[in-house]
Amino acid sequence: MSERARLGLFLGAATGMAVLLAWGMAGLPAFGAFHGAYALLIDHVVVAQRHATDAVTAVNFDYRGLDTLGEEFILFTSVVGLAVLLREQRSERERPPARAGEEHRFQGASCALRTLTLLLVGPLVVLALYVDSHGALTPGGGFQGGVLGAAALLLVFLGGGYLTMRRLSPHRLVELAEAGGAAGYGMIGVGGIVFAGAFLKNFLGYGTAGELISAGTIPLLSMAVAAEVSGAFVLLWSEFLDQALIVRRG
């Protein structure tokens, strides 16, 4: 199709789709006036039933924990998929690997800036752990904390260079953390079968609402997710980084 024909087809169709969407959305409750039975029920029972004060985390890791299992494995699959798609090709194998001895630094950064970057790593790790562990209490949880943890390692790269980052996070170890996190979530679920009779059913004491160790299996699941997510993002980034640093010699 010529670009004109394509655009014409699309614009005509998009007008129709806009009308249809408007027709469908007109049937939604007015903005702000929604009262879904499911949500109201969860809001009422979550603290009493689960001793978790953040209802969103409770839904994610408990009431609808299976969705999150699926979500973790989507992330896991994308990491495996990326490793497959960006693997070393037969035609690339002949050349020296990524200038082994060379340090790739954040170009144009002064020494002071690099030091500053490295100084930020510590607080970021602390923040990541905080967000991970307080998922059941306040906004945040394994996913957000996990990305922050991975970001801390990214700062190491910016400040210290590629090899420092690789030294700090040996590839195998990160891979194990990633796969282990994903499997760990599943295993905690299996623990539910063994100890409580249903997959992902809570089998720990709930503790006191508002305390760090409370809400049953939620903190455990959150930690598994954190391991999986930080591993996954480190692997995703380092795959792209490897690509960017390979100097092609065809």
Binding site: A30, D43, T53, T68, I74
Partner: protein, 114 residues
């Protein structure tokens, strides 16, 4: 306000599609796809919003008080993760496509025709 909220969601879906249809660069196309996806976040959260209600975090407010819908928020969280993974896979494909074809223009990637 309803029209604005839901309309924004519909608008983002269509604008993102427009970007995909007219895109001449795979990376541009992937980013337009995230705009389409962001329309689903906006729609979900707009549906779950309740006027004058607090966030569903009962650390700051007493349990059982009026809060917005936590379910749609959990769904959106899942959706956000899906976005990151889809972007990662498609960028990898784009990188490899550039290696093979020397271009990112989808109009010029042509081994598959007919």
């Amino acid at each position: 306000m309803s029209a604005l909220a839901y309309g924004t969601a519909g608008w983002l879906f269509l604008v993102g599609l427009y970007g995909i249809v007219t895109s001449r660069n795979l990376i541009h196309m992937v980013i337009c796809l995230t705009v389409v996806q962001s329309s689903t976040y906006v729609l979900l959260l707009s549906i779950g919003y309740r006027s004058g209600a607090a966030a569903p975090v009962f650390a700051d407010i007493p349990p059982g008080s009026r809060a917005v819908d936590p379910i749609v928020q959990a769904l959106t969280l899942t959706d956000v993760v899906v976005e990151a993974t889809v972007v990662a896979l498609m960028l990898a494909l784009a990188v490899q496509a550039h290696k093979r074809f020397g271009t990112l223009d989808p109009n010029e990637l042509t081994p598959l025709r007919g």
